[in-house]
Symmetry: C2
Subunit: 186 residues, 2 copies
């Protein structure tokens, strides 16, 4: 007489993600997640291999959503405008998901959950190629992503302690970097 499933992997991952974002890493316990989806902790092992595996699934979910947010942000066809829009969308996403965004990008934060990938948006790479030329597309893309990720991480960490206008620093950095990356003779 088979017992019917009371939950699903998707529900477990969603509950884990919400718990993580709203109450922090320590609140993501197997017993709390089980509570949220209406089963007992041991039943979760029918859906995920371990707590680390659950972390990995949650962060993969976040990475997938970020990728589609980026792809949807490029609309005008002008590389500078599109890269600005993608950077803004990237930052908005991180601000809306500060805990999971940070964990997604910090490799050693959760041991065993390191296999997640920050998917490169093909749209992003193509847009950079149009600005920087195909020869420099890869290092140029890495420069933009490194800057945006670094800026956002430090912002979320409260590392900008010397006052000044953080919005202004974002615009300054974005404009200077896009200008610096542009192919010399166009």
């Amino acid at each position: 007489m088979p017992a019917h499933p009371q939950t699903s992997t998707a529900a477990v991952v969603a509950a884990g993600r919400r718990l993580l974002e709203e109450r922090g890493v320590d609140a993501l316990t197997m017993r709390e997640v089980a509570d949220a989806v209406g089963v007992r902790a041991p039943s979760l092992y029918k859906r995920v291999r371990s707590r680390s595996d659950l972390f990995r699934l949650v962060l993969e979910d976040v990475a997938d959503e970020l990728t589609s947010v980026l792809d949807a942000a490029a609309m005008t066809g002008d590389p500078v405008a599109d890269l600005g829009a993608m950077a803004a969308a990237y930052r908005r996403f991180a601000h809306a998901n500060p805990v999971t965004y940070t964990l997604m990008m910090a490799p050693q934060a959760i041991p065993g959950a390191t296999a997640r990938s920050v998917r490169s948006s093909a749209t992003f790479l193509n847009t950079v190629a149009r600005l920087a030329g195909p020869m420099h597309a890869l290092p140029a893309a890495r420069t933009i992503v490194a800057w945006a990720h670094g800026f956002i991480t430090m912002e979320l960490a409260g590392a900008f302690r010397l006052g000044g206008d953080v919005e202004n620093a974002w615009d300054f950095g974005l404009n200077r970097i896009l200008a610096a990356i542009r192919r010399p003779a166009d």
Copy 2:
């Protein structure tokens, strides 16, 4: 009849830092640290308030060392050369301390241990001011640090998966950003 101290806060912090860097976050348990300094776990609470407090002390220690590494790297007096040397020293330090560097910069990684500060090197700010002019010194410094930190984090996370030459991407980013930040009329 007072019992003599068997250890010190400095020894506890040093043991914690080594454990963290060599065996990861999960290995930093109170019992392991106690073992390393030759006492029992409850005695550690004479030196640190809690495990979170120990994390905070370890990461402050890392931040202090990073600051002095940066200060020591500027030698020539030429702003471009000095900023290049500081960036290289920053990256070397992160490569030598990958786990603790990442944790130091990732706010939510260890709940309760967020009070640590990434000290700004005064030397660094002054050098940037000489390159970018005093008006843009702060946003320019934030641009450089954001890029360097972002680049290194992604590198340590193994996020550069599309092949290509990572050293070349570092040089490309550094040169372009320093050029972009330079005061227009000099």
